[in-house]
Amino acid sequence: MNREKILKNIKEKFKGDIIELFDKSPKRVYIEIKPQTIVKVASYIFKDLGARFNIASGVDTRFNIEILYHFTIEDINLLISLRVKLPKDNLEIDSLVKVFEGANWIEREIHELLGVKFKGHPDLRRLLLPDEWPEGVYPLRADYKEWDNNAIRDRGV
């Protein structure tokens, strides 16, 4: 399948789920979808289109937290980024671990750094933060405040 056909198929198949399809460049497409439909769309792209799951990235955009799932279809050199916007008062999304195992650790990392809850994740422990880190403090949020009173924040000159 070529690029136009793939995008047309996605558009037709998920008509009600796609909020916006932004065709940025020949190599890159951003597809914004509704958060409830992530498993459906991601498994279509992963299983039926044969894409490779690169990584997911989380961004705090003041009112929402955005998660971008990046997929590459290597035969046609196309990078599809599925964008999901979660409102800050309801940070929950279905986990993709059941579709592909590669989502396991990156979901754990987004969970501890941004505080997104992944429903159905088998093992939502901490991945990178130390043990003494307090519960409910998320360092990559925009409103993160220093909690450690022993921290030294000057160069001592």
């Binding site: 130390p130 022993n150 924040r153 001592g156």
Partner: protein
Amino acid sequence: MSFKLKALLKSPWVFHLSTGSCNNCDIEVLDCLTPRFDVERFGMLLAPSIKHADVLLITGSCNRKSAERLKRLYEQAPKPILVVAIGECSLSRGMFMQSYNCPIPLDKIIPVDVYIPGCPPKPEAIIAGVVKLIEKIKSKTKKK
């Protein structure tokens, strides 16, 4: 103490620890050890274990997890041990000063003998720092 220091001056064995650096300083340290800059002419060898080492080279900004490991390593090291901080990150944490994961600079965790600034420091700078370290100990031992 001074006798021990004098003894290790002839051939200080170096243990290299990266406490979460970007690996650029580590590459420069590696450059020093290879034939082009050849720090071995001062008798320096890379020790495989901290228990064999006389000098502890530290690169990188100490983050919350590696700071604990650093303390543990320092406790295991045979004393007297000389600590050399290499690169801006281990001197003052550089651009990671406000980072949530780098609360305390290196010299507030363990005592540091020589600071080598730069991002990354050139191999020449590292060699100069090392020579200064040797000079420093020599002058110390002479006085006593």
